[in-house]
Symmetry: C2
C-alpha cells in the first residue's frame, strides 16, 4: 500500500469493521472484477457504509468530497463541477438478480470513489497474482468533488427483467424533433452514469471503474466527455459561456431555490401511480447538440445577439438591464419587438410554457474534427426535470419550430432516463425499483 | 466593451500606440476574419508587440501568463499544463505570400491569446454589423498559462511554396512501425498547433481562433483533445499517471536541466546545412496511441509491473529504490533479470539507445467509446527531440520489436513536425523559414 496516498477506511487493517461485510464485499468485488459470473442469490440490503468519520477524514485529505447519501442523488443540485464523463450502458445479462446485484455493486463503488478512495482493495493493495481491484490512474488524486449519478432508460422496462409494469408513464423514447439527426450509437441505453468532477481524470476513472464492475452484466453503449460546465446550478457560481460565446443558462434553476427545485426537479410520490418507486428521483434528458460554430462565427454581432435575445458581453436581455434582469418581451424598438419573436430567450422562456423550468447541467464538448475542416463541437445538454412531457418536450418542440438558433444546431444523440432516488448507508441505488 | 473582463492593451483607446500599427493590424485582422482574401503583398516584419508592462498587468489580472517571446517557442520546456488541444492543418492556398501572412497573423493572435486577451477587437468590442473578431467563449477566463506552439510538416516542403530546398533532412514521414494502424485522417499535416492551458475552454478557444484566422488559407486536418498531462517537464511537478495507472515519464527531460535540454531538444545552427533556419527550434513527434485498457485491467498486478518494469504504487524500478532511483538492469532475482528483458523501462531506456533522451509532453485522451463496449482511450504522445532519427525512430523501433507493452497499444495516428524557432516582439514565427 506504499503508493496509496489516500486514506482507505476499509482496506488494510480496518478499525472496527462491521461483522462480515468487508470480506463479503471483497469477495464479490473480486469475483465481479475477475470476470466470473456473480451468482443470482440476493444478499440482503446490507452494504458497506463508511462511517461519517471516514468521510470527514477523506474530505480533509482530498480536496472536496460531495456526500453520496441522501434522499436525492448527488450530481443534480450539487454545484456543477467543471468536467463530465457520461456513459450509457446496455444490460447484457437477462437475469434480474444479476441486474440488481450490479446496482448494488455500483452503489458500493460510488460510495468509495466519491470519497477519493480506490475501488475495492485499490490499485496496489491486493494480491499481486490477481488483477488489481482499481485501475490506478486516479491514485494520488483528490476526490475532486466527484459525483456519480445513476439512471435507468425506457428499454430496461421491456420484458427482460419483469419490470414492465413499473415503467413510469413519462419514461419513453423522446419524440423525433425537426433538426434531430440521431445516431443510434449515441442515443438511448438501459442504464446511465453521469460522473462529474473538477478533474477529468477522476471522472474518467469513475466511468471506467463502473464499466469494469459491470463486466458480463452490462457494457458501454456510448460515452461522452465534456468540459466547462455551461450552466450554473448554484447562486455561488458565475454563468459560464457556451461555444457560441454566450452566457448560457442564466435563468437556470439553482440549488438554493429549494421550493422551486421541489416543484420542478424531484418526482413526487403521487406523480405516477405505477412509479411510486421513483419518488425523490428525477428525469434526465441528455442531448448531444452539435453546434455549427464556423458558420455562427461569421454572423455579425448584432445578428448573434438578436438570435439569442441577450447581449454577448454581459448576457443581459436585449430589453435592457443586467444578466439577472427579466426579459421584457413587450418592449419594442421602433415598431419591432426589441427581443425578436424568434429569439432563443423568448422561445424557451418559462412564460411561454406555463412556467415550466428545468435544471440544466450541460457541458461543452469538442470531439476532434469532422473531417471537413470543422471542429466536431457543441453542447452536451443535460437537464433534470420532474416531468419531461411538461417541462422538456413542449420547450424542445417550440425550439425546433420557431427558434432562430435552430439553424446552427444539429442534435446527433438523444436519451431519456429516470434518475433513481437517493439511498442511505444501508441501501443501494435502485432499491425501490426492485423491492 | 462592458462585458470585457480582461484588460485589452491594444483595444479601446490604447496608450502610446506605435504609429500606424494598430490600425493596419486591425484592418488585416478584419479582412482575414471576414473571409476576404488577404493580398500577397508582404508587409514587412512589423508586428504589434505589447510592452512588457502590458504583459505584467495582464498576468496579475489573469492568473498565469506564459511569456510568448524568446529564442525558443513556449509550450516545450514550459511546465506542462493540464489540458491540450492539438490541431494539424492542411494549407489550402498555393500562394507563398499568403502562407507567410498566415504565420504572421497566427503570431499576432498567439501574442494576444497567451496574454488572456481576445483576438482582434474582441468578442463584443467591434462593429455590431460585422462578425466579432473573437468567438467569445473565453471571455472572462484567465490566460490559464496558455501556450501556442507552431510547427511545420514535411508536406509543406513539396513544390507548392518553393520551400523544397529548405526541408530539413530529418523532416520526413516517420517509418511504418509494427503495431501502427494509422488513420490518414489522424496523421500528418502541413502545419501543427499545440495549444496547452490549465483550462480546456482556453485551449479550445485558441485552436478555434487560429483555425478561424486561417480561413481560406488553411483548414483543420485533424485535432485531438487531451487531459491530465502524462509527463512532468519541471522538477516542481509530480509525475502523473497514464491510463494504465502507472506513473509515466519519470526519466523525462526537465526544464531545469538546461544543458541536457540544449543537447537533446533544441536544433543547433550547424545540425543541418539545409536548415539553419530551424536553429532554436525542435522536432515534435505526435502519436495517437490507443490503449487496450479493458484487457490491461485484467492482468495481475505482478504482470503489469513486470511489463512496465516499475512498481505501480511508488513508480520505483523493480530493482529497488524510489521513483527517482536509476534502474539496475543487471539485478537478478533467482536466475532471471529483476527487470525483465522485455520490460518497457529497459527497452526504451537511454542506456539502450546511446544516451538518447526526449522531452515528453503527452496527454491522456478519451474520445468516447469504440462501439464495441470499450472506451476509445489512450495516450496522445508528444515528444520534442533535436534529431528524430537518433532520438525517436530507434526507440520506437525497439519498442515495436521487443517491448512487452506493445500488446496493449495500437498507434492510430502519427505525425512529425519541425517546430519553429521562437520570435521576438518585432518578428513572427516562421520568419527564418521565409527569409
Amino acid at each position: 500500500m506504499s503508493g496509496q496516498h489516500l486514506p482507505d477506511g476499509t482496506g488494510g487493517a480496518p478499525t472496527a469493521p462491521r461483522s462480515g461485510r468487508l470480506s463479503r464485499r471483497r469477495l464479490l468485488g473480486g469475483a465481479a472484477l475477475g470476470g466470473a459470473a456473480v451468482g443470482g442469490a440476493a444478499l440482503g440490503g446490507v452494504a458497506v457504509a463508511p462511517s461519517r468519520d471516514d468521510v470527514t477524514d477523506a474530505g480533509s485529505a482530498t480536496g472536496g468530497v460531495v456526500a453520496f447519501h441522501g434522499a436525492h442523488q448527488a450530481g443534480i443540485v450539487t454545484p456543477a463541477q467543471d468536467r463530465l464523463h457520461f456513459a450509457a450502458f446496455d444490460v447484457t445479462t437477462t437475469d434480474r438478480a444479476e441486474l440488481e446485484q450490479l446496482l448494488r455493486d455500483w452503489t458500493d463503488a460510488a460510495r468509495r470513489l466519491t470519497r477519493g478512495l480506490p475501488a475495492g482493495a485499490g490499485a496496489v493493495g491486493g494480491d499481486p497474482l490477481l488483477p488489481p481491484d482499481d485501475t490506478g490512474e486516479a491514485l494520488g488524486l483528490p476526490a475532486a468533488r466527484l459525483t456519480i449519478t445513476i439512471g435507468v432508460g425506457p428499454s430496461l422496462f421491456d420484458d427482460r427483467f419483469g419490470l414492465a409494469e413499473r415503467r413510469p408513464a413519462a419514461l419513453r423514447s423522446l419524440p423525433h424533433f425537426p433538426g434531430d439527426v440521431l445516431d443510434p450509437a449515441r442515443s438511448d441505453g438501459d442504464l446511465a452514469v453521469q460522473a462529474c468532477a473538477d478533474d477529468p481524470q477522476v471522472a474518467v476513472h469513475a466511468v471506467r471503474t463502473l464499466a469494469r464492475i459491470a463486466f458480463g452484466r452490462a457494457s458501454v453503449r456510448w460515452s461522452q466527455l465534456g468540459f466547462g460546465r455551461t450552466s450554473s446550478t448554484s447562486t455561488t457560481q458565475q454563468t459560464p459561456r457556451n461555444l457560441f460565446g454566450f452566457k448560457d443558462g442564466t435563468a437556470n434553476l439553482k440549488a438554493e431555490e429549494t421550493a422551486a427545485v421541489d416543484e420542478h426537479v424531484w418526482v413526487g410520490v403521487d406523480d405516477d401511480p405505477a412509479a411510486a418507486w421513483l419518488a425523490g428521483g428525477s428525469y434526465l434528458v441528455a442531448r448531444r447538440i452539435a453546434m455549427d460554430i464556423e458558420v455562427w462565427d461569421r454572423q455579425p454581432l448584432a445578428d448573434q445577439e438578436a438570435i439569442v435575445g441577450r447581449t454577448k458581453g454581459e448576457g443581459g436581455p436585449l430589453s435592457g438591464g443586467p444578466e439577472s434582469a427579466a426579459p421584457d418581451f413587450a418592449a419594442v424598438t421602433g415598431t419591432a419587438p426589441t427581443i425578436p419573436v424568434d429569439a432563443h430567450v423568448r422561445v424557451v422562456h418559462p412564460d411561454a410554457h406555463g412556467g415550466a423550468r428545468m435544471l440544466r447541467r450541460g457541458y461543452n464538448f469538442v470531439d476532434g474534427s469532422t473531417g471537413l475542416g470543422a471542429l466536431d463541437a457543441g453542447l452536451f445538454f443535460l437537464a433534470y426535470v420532474r416531468d419531461p412531457d411538461r417541462q422538456f418536450v413542449p420547450v424542445q418542440a417550440a425550439m425546433s419550430r420557431a427558434d432562430a438558433l435552430r439553424e446552427y444546431l444539429t442534435v446527433t444523440g438523444s436519451a431519456l432516463f429516470a434518475v433513481l432516488p437517493g439511498t442511505d448507508e444501508a441501501g443501494f441505488l435502485g432499491e425501490t425499483l426492485f423491492a
